[in-house]
Each structure stands twice: as C-alpha cells, then as structure tokens.
C-alpha cells in the first residue's frame, strides 16, 4: 500500500463522492484522481523520476492537494513549504533536498523566479492560479498548471515505489536555527494515518474541516486521513474570520474539527456559540500545545454532543498520544496514552525504563517513527537509537514526561528551548540569526513568553551597537522580510546589555518578564 492509493482506491470505490470542498468548489474523488494523474504525467514528461523531490509552495487549495497526489503518482517525494516562506529560506530548502521541481502560485512569481539561478537541481517551476502576462517568462522553465493539465493524459502512470520509499519530507525547526527535513516513508505515513483514524473512529461519512496549513503536518494529515477513509475534506485557506468558520461548520455539516489552542481561544471569544446547532459535529481535536482546562470546559458547554480529543505529538513520528474523551475529567492534565499499534515508554538518563510516576525522556516505538533527518546522520543518531530488535530504531523525543500506572502520560518539560506559538514550533536561533543580520544589532535573544491566545508569544530582546538607532517597528519589518509570518516577534525590547552565564551564554530566563 502506498499513500497515493488513498486517492486511487476511493476514485474506484466512490467516484462520484465529494472528496474536497474549497470555498464554492466541490470536487469528486474521480475528478481529483484524474487531475492528479494528468499532473503526474506532466511531471514525468518534464523529467521527474522515482525518489525525486518536488516542492509544493502553495496556499491551501485544491491545486495543493492535487499536486501532493500527483507527486506521489509520479513516484516522487512531496515537500510542502509554508507559503509565507521568504526567498532565502526557500532557496535553502530547495538546495538542501536538491528539489527537481516546484509547484507555486503565479502570485509568488517574484519570490520564486530568481530561485532557479541559485538552485541548480531545479528543472522547472509550475505556476497555478491567474497567469502572469510577461514576455520574459522562460517557457522551458516556467510552466502553467492549467495548460499542463489540459495537455496531459488522464491515464495513471506506472507505480514504481514500495512503502519503504519516501512519501514526504517535512521541514521542521531545529535548535540550531537551520530547518531539518523529517523523512517519512509511505509506511510511516500510512501507519500514522491508520493509528489516528482508528482512535478517532473515522469513516467515509466524516466531513473534516481543515483550517490548518498543509505545510504543518497536522494540516496535511487531515487531507491524507480524510482520503484514507473516503471522507470529505472541507479545506479553508486559513483560520481568519471566526464566524465564517462557524458558518462553514454548520453549512457543510462538518463532523470533525481539528484545531490548535489559538484557534479555540479565538472561537471561544464569540458570545453566542451556544445558540447554534452543532449536533453533527462528532469530534474536536487539539494538539501542538496544551489546551487550558478552562477552554476544554467551555468547549464542552458550546459543543455538548462533541467528543474532545486532546493529543500530543511531534513531526518526527507525527503523533504520540491521545486522551480518550471520557478520560478528560479524570486526567485533565494528561496528554493521553500511546496510539493503537504504537508503544511509548519513559527512560532515565541511564537508559532504564522508569517506574510509574518517575520522570524521564519519552521514547516512541512504532512504524510511524520517521526514517531520519534528510542528510543529517549525526542529528538523526541523537534521536533515533537502537530499539528492541536488531536494526530497529526508536525515537527519543527530547521531551521529559511522567507516566501513571495505567500508561497515561504527563508532560513535564522540553529539553531544548523551542518556542510553541499558534501551535507552530519555532527555533529561537532561527530568529536570532536574522536579527544578527541587522547592522545595528550587537546582541539578540529570542524567547517565548506566555500569551493567552498564542500559547507563547515570541519576544526578541535586542542590544544595539554603540550609537546605532533603530525602532521596534523597523526590527519587526526586517523580520517580516526574512521570516515566515508566524515567526515575526510580537514583542521587541531594547536593553543595554544581556545577562550571561559564566560560560558567556545568554541567560534567557530573566529576560522573559523583564520590562513588562
């Protein structure tokens, strides 16, 4: 079984069933399958082979979903890139995995068009959306999505992959500030989808609302899982206007609503939610950061017929645990237990399994555990270590946990300083690296500070060079030009100096509340 089979199988079983709803557009499984076949044939005709990497640099859209399945059908590996990624990082990712092709939006032409000069592996860019009229567009390198679809045949190309091949590489923030590519094989993705859809009891009658970006694994898997069970995905470009989302849930009779704490915090600010009928909403899921107990309570008042699943995971194995809805009252601060077909345990620093109640590092064992970080063997070896049987690798999460007698997990702390804001992981180092590129900046320290909506808000504390003059707004503007939107510091503070440890490292703890 391969990930691309999710679409193919349903196109055979329920060709006329609605696979995706995006705004006013509704497409059936058959229509999606035919489009993906056409695009896959186009990719192959432009030189895409088995194991090649092809990027998807699109906003959430029908085209993004078609692109993902087309890349799989072309026996290649898809890499979804956050659409707010700026030129430098985009170039880094493209070169890091030596991408052969990229699918982007015509709107992003100015960001993307200089890329082929700096990324020698890139053979072509396919642009979707409203075509740009320009005589300067090189027709061999820059292709139009609609034209390719029209000129390619709908016959499925021959499948050459096996489930040990890479289905996707997902770039994630690393503590070093340089993004790392998480390699997921077809088997990894299918295992994670199977475990999750098992505990969520998904069926083909599910209608799942996805407001999360497809570049975020939580957003991506909603589409994959909906397609796995033959359900319908209601894809939104983003979560922006809260009442619009409520209207969509009601209009489309949504049965599953995945979110992150920021989304639920925004929704719960609406006063009249109780007046609406949400009886069709079967479940809500939360992950990426803990949902405050008070919000769980409020969600249950607003959605009394809906099961609320609290979950925890990391990209390196997709998901670790879920708290069954009927356990929420008994263990409100637990992130739940391991998924079906997955083992979780806690080890101390001596590498021994600890007793219930004792703290240690969480270890994950299962087919959902990644194959490693793309071309980073040393980084990979820090997380993937030998398991029970020869050749087996298990994942050391870097998160400190306790487990109770019944196997429920309780988060204690992270070993690194990664910030979680709006459910996205952000490396402070990546932002500091950008700040240091400003001539005015002598020193910079970035940290997360508690925020009721964002979970953590990003705060940058900056020391300026002698005589230098720059405003908070200018610092934020520079960050906006160089970082994805969710990485732009919400707070910028200027200080005379930064406190240091004896070894000269910046002490961030004291800076979190300073000056507020």
């Amino acid at each position: 079984m391969l990930v691309g089979d999710f679409l193919k199988n349903n196109a055979q079983l329920f060709p006329k069933k609605t696979a995706i709803i995006f705004g006013r557009r509704k497409l059936t499984y058959e229509e999606m399958d035919v489009s993906a076949n056409r695009l896959a044939n186009a990719l192959i005709s432009y030189g895409i082979k088995r194991d090649d990497r092809v990027g998807v640099f699109l906003d959430n859209s029908v085209e993004a979903v078609v692109a993902i399945f087309a890349i799989l059908k072309a026996n290649a590996t898809f890499v979804v890139i956050n659409p707010t990624t700026k030129f430098q990082k985009l170039g880094y990712i493209l070169n890091n995995c030596r991408m052969s092709g990229l699918i982007a939006d015509w709107d992003k032409f100015d960001v993307v068009s200089p890329i082929p000069e700096t990324a020698p592996s890139l053979k072509f860019v396919i642009f979707s959306g409203k075509k740009k009229d320009s005589a300067e567009i090189d027709p061999n390198r820059f292709l139009d999505y609609e034209e390719l679809l029209k000129s390619s045949v709908p016959k499925p190309p021959p499948l050459k992959c096996i489930d040990q091949d890479l289905a996707t590489i997902i770039y994630t923030s690393g503590t070093t500030g340089v993004p790392k590519g998480v390699m997921m094989t077809h088997l990894n993705v299918i295992s994670a989808c199977t475990s999750i859809t098992t505990y969520l009891e998904n069926t083909s009658s599910d209608i799942i609302l996805d407001v999360l970006p497809l570049s975020f694994d939580y957003g991506l898997y909603q589409v994959l899982m909906a397609f796995k069970v033959g359900g319908t995905i209601v894809l939104e470009k983003t979560f922006l206007y809260p009442f619009e989302i409520i209207k969509t849930i009601i209009r489309e009779k949504v049965t599953g609503f995945p979110g992150v704490p920021t989304i639920f915090a925004l929704l719960l600010q609406l006063d009249h939610l109780k007046d609406y009928d949400f009886t069709h909403l079967r479940y809500i899921t939360n992950t990426a950061a803990a949902l405050p107990v008070s919000h769980v309570k409020k969600l249950r008042e607003v959605f009394p017929h809906t099961k609320i699943y609290l979950m925890y995971g990391l990209t390196e194995c997709k998901r670790v645990s879920y708290l069954p809805p009927d356990e929420v009252d008994r263990r409100p601060d637990s992130v739940g237990r391991g998924m079906p077909n997955e083992e979780v345990y806690i080890e101390n620093e001596q590498g021994e399994r600890v007793k219930p109640g004792e703290m240690g590092e969480l270890v994950v064992r299962g087919s959902n555990v990644m194959r490693g970080y793309w071309e980073l063997p040393e980084e990979t070896d820090k997380l993937l270590k030998p398991g029970k049987y020869p050749g087996e690798k298990v994942l050391y999460t870097g998160d400190l946990f306790r487990m109770d007698e019944e196997g429920y997990l309780y988060f204690v702390a992270r070993k690194d300083d990664i910030i979680k804001t709006r459910g996205e992981k952000v490396s402070p180092k990546e932002i500091e690296n950008v700040l240091y590129r400003l001539n005015e900046v002598l020193e910079a320290a970035v940290m997360g500070v508690p925020d009721p909506i964002l979970g953590e808000a990003i705060k940058a504390v900056v020391v300026l060079q002698k005589g230098a003059n720059i405003t908070e707004e200018q610092v934020r503007r520079f960050c906006a030009q160089n970082l994805e939107d969710f990485m732009i510091p919400k707070l910028v503070e200027f200080q005379e100096f930064l406190p240091k440890t004896e070894t000269g490292k910046i002490k961030k703890i004291g800076l979190i509340s300073k000056g507020e």
Partner: protein
C-alpha cells in the same frame, strides 16, 4: 462623504502600521485587496483589527459580523464602519 474619507484614512493608517511591515509582496494596498487572499492579516490580527474598530469608531462588532463581507478589504471595512456609525446615530 467627508466622514467616509476620515474612516478610510484611519483604517489605512492602522493596516499599514500594524500588518504591512514593508513585506515584499505588498507594495500597495488597493481598496479591494483581500486580506485573506493576500495573507495580509492573520487570525490574531483580526482581533487587533476588531479592537481597533471598536475603540476608534466607538462601535460594537457582533459575533455574526466577524465575516469577510465586513472585514476583508479596506473598502469592506469602510462600508461596514460607515453603516455601523449611521446605525449608532439613529439608535
């Protein structure tokens, strides 16, 4: 009409200062530019925007009004605020 112009100036100034941080993709904000389509505002930005409207124009934005028809471009915002202000005067 003068009032509409005042509303528009205030709104543009706020959007420019708060959201358009000189990003590479947003050289100019046209009247009908969709914030959603162009990624100008994010979900917490909508809250900031609503707080700004309520404070500056002394109006109350209801739950049901948190929709793109009211909030998703400069022209939609100007229309929405003008209507709300007129309503407030009649009340």
């Amino acid at each position: 009409m003068a009032e509409k112009k005042y509303i528009e100036e205030k709104i543009r100034k706020f959007i420019n200062q708060t959201f358009l941080r000189g990003g590479e993709t947003n050289p100019g904000l046209k009247d009908h530019t969709s914030f959603l389509e162009k990624g100008i505002v994010d979900s917490t930005g909508v809250l900031e925007l609503v707080a700004f409207l309520e404070e500056t124009f002394n109006i109350t934005v209801e739950d049901e009004e948190l929709v793109p028809e009211n909030l998703d471009s400069v022209s939609n915002l100007v229309k929405f605020v003008s209507q709300k202000s007129d309503q407030a005067k009649m009340d």
